[in-house]
Symmetry: C2
Subunit: 232 residues, 2 copies
C-alpha cells in the first residue's frame, strides 16, 4: 500500500528513474508546452530582471543555466537528482547536487548573494515553505523569486491543493515512472510565498500561441522587507 506519506519519496525516486528519458525529452523539444511557450517565458522573465547571479532551483538537465550563460548571465543550477546533475554538468555549466532537504538544512552550501532564484516547474513537493524560507536567506535584499508552475486552467478538477500523478503521456515513448506532484490553488501559492517572506510583484500567464489557452502561471515575487503581511 502507498499513501500520501509516500509521495515525497516516490517523487524523488521518479526523477532518478526518469533522468535519461527526461534529459532526452527536454533536449529534443518533445514537450510541446515548453517548446511553444514556457521555455521562452521563463527565460524572458529572468532576463527582464537583469540579474547578476541566478540560482536555478531544480535545474534538471540544465538547459536554463546554459541558456542564461549564453546571454552572459551567471547561473548555478542545483538539483537533487544525481543522474540529472551529471547530465547537466556533461553539457556544460555550473551545477551542484543538493537535495531540497539539504538546502533547507544549510542553504549556503550552494552559495549566497543570489539576486534571482528561479524554480521552473520545480516546486513539486507539498512542503515547500521551509525550502523557500531557506532560499530567502541566501538572496540579496532586493532579490526576486520566479516560479513557473501549472496554470489553474490547465489542471483538471478538483480545484484544491493535493497530490496528483504525472504519467508523462505525450512526453515520448520512453518507459516513464509515474511522478507524484502536488497541485496548489492560486491562493495557496500566494499564501506560501508570503509565509516564506516574499511578496507578489507580477504574474504572467504564458499561453498557447494559436489556441490562446494559458499553459502556465509565472509568479514573480520579491523578497519582502516588511514582514509577511505588509504591502509596499
Amino acid at each position: 500500500m502507498t499513501g500520501p506519506a509516500d509521495e515525497p519519496a516516490r517523487l524523488l525516486a521518479s526523477w532518478h528513474d526518469n533522468a535519461a528519458a527526461w534529459t532526452a525529452a527536454v533536449r529534443s523539444g518533445a514537450i510541446e508546452s515548453r517548446r511553444l511557450a514556457t521555455d521562452a517565458a521563463i527565460l524572458a522573465a529572468v532576463l527582464d530582471r537583469r540579474p547578476r547571479q541566478v540560482l536555478d532551483l531544480g535545474c534538471g538537465e540544465g538547459w536554463l543555466v546554459r541558456a542564461l550563460a549564453q546571454r552572459g548571465v551567471a547561473a548555478l543550477g542545483v538539483d537533487g537528482s544525481a543522474p540529472l546533475v551529471e547530465a547537466a554538468a556533461r553539457a556544460g555549466g555550473s551545477f551542484a547536487r543538493l537535495s531540497y532537504a539539504e538546502l533547507v538544512a544549510a542553504p549556503e552550501r550552494c552559495g549566497a548573494g543570489f539576486d534571482l532564484v528561479v524554480a521552473n516547474f520545480a516546486l513539486l513537493e507539498e512542503q515547500i515553505l521551509p525550502l523557500l524560507a531557506a532560499l530567502r536567506r541566501i538572496m540579496t535584499a532586493n532579490g526576486f523569486l520566479l516560479v513557473q508552475t501549472l496554470h489553474p486552467l490547465a489542471a483538471g478538477p478538483p480545484y484544491e491543493d493535493g497530490w496528483r500523478t504525472e504519467d508523462f503521456r505525450g512526453f515520448g515513448d520512453a518507459a516513464w515512472t509515474p511522478m507524484p506532484w502536488y497541485f496548489r490553488t492560486l491562493g495557496s501559492w500566494l499564501g506560501v510565498l508570503r509565509a516564506a517572506g516574499f511578496a507578489l510583484h507580477d504574474l504572467r500567464e504564458p499561453s498557447h500561441p494559436k489556441e490562446g489557452r494559458p499553459l502556465s502561471l509565472l509568479l514573480e515575487a520579491c523578497v519582502s522587507t516588511q514582514g509577511d503581511l505588509s504591502c509596499p
Copy 2:
C-alpha cells in the same frame, strides 16, 4: 447594428432596466453564489481590515453598506443607476448617485479619506484604469481596495480579455435586459491594479461550500507608495 463601442452604453442602460428585478433578486437571496459564498466573503474581507470609512463602489441596492453599518462600520455607497440608488436610500444608509465618468472627473464629489474602497462585482467596464486611479486620490496612504469578481475557473473559454453578455438565467423569472460585461484574465486584473497605483496584498478564492469549486476571485490590494513597478 451594435458593436463593442456600444457595450458601455448598453451596460449602463441594463442597470436602469434591471434595477427592480436586481433589487428583488439580491434581497430575496435568489442568487445562489452570493447566498452560498460571495456575500459572506466580501463582508469578511472588509471587516478583517477594520476600516474606519468605506466607499462601496457600484453599491447597487446597498446591502453591503447596510451590513457594514449594522457592524458599526461607516460606509458610503455610490452607484450610477438612479433607480438602484433610490432603492438603496429607501432601505436606509448613506448613498450617492454618481456615474463612473463623474467619479473619474471629480472623485472628491463622494468625499475623501477612505481607508477602504470595495468593488463587489462592480467593475464591469472595459476601461477601469481611470476610475481606479481617480479613487486612489480619495484614499488614505494606507488604504485598501477590495475587488470581488468572477473566478477564471468559473468563466467559460476563451481565457482572454473581452466583452461577454450576462443573460441573468437562474436569477429569477423577471424580464431581464441582457447586460454586457468585460471579462479580464488574472494577469489583466493585476496589471490594471498596478497601473492604477495599487499592489496586490492578498487573494482569496471563495468556493462552493459543498462542491469546492471557486465561485469568485477576491483581490485585496493596497495603495502603493513606491510607484507602479515596485515591491515592498
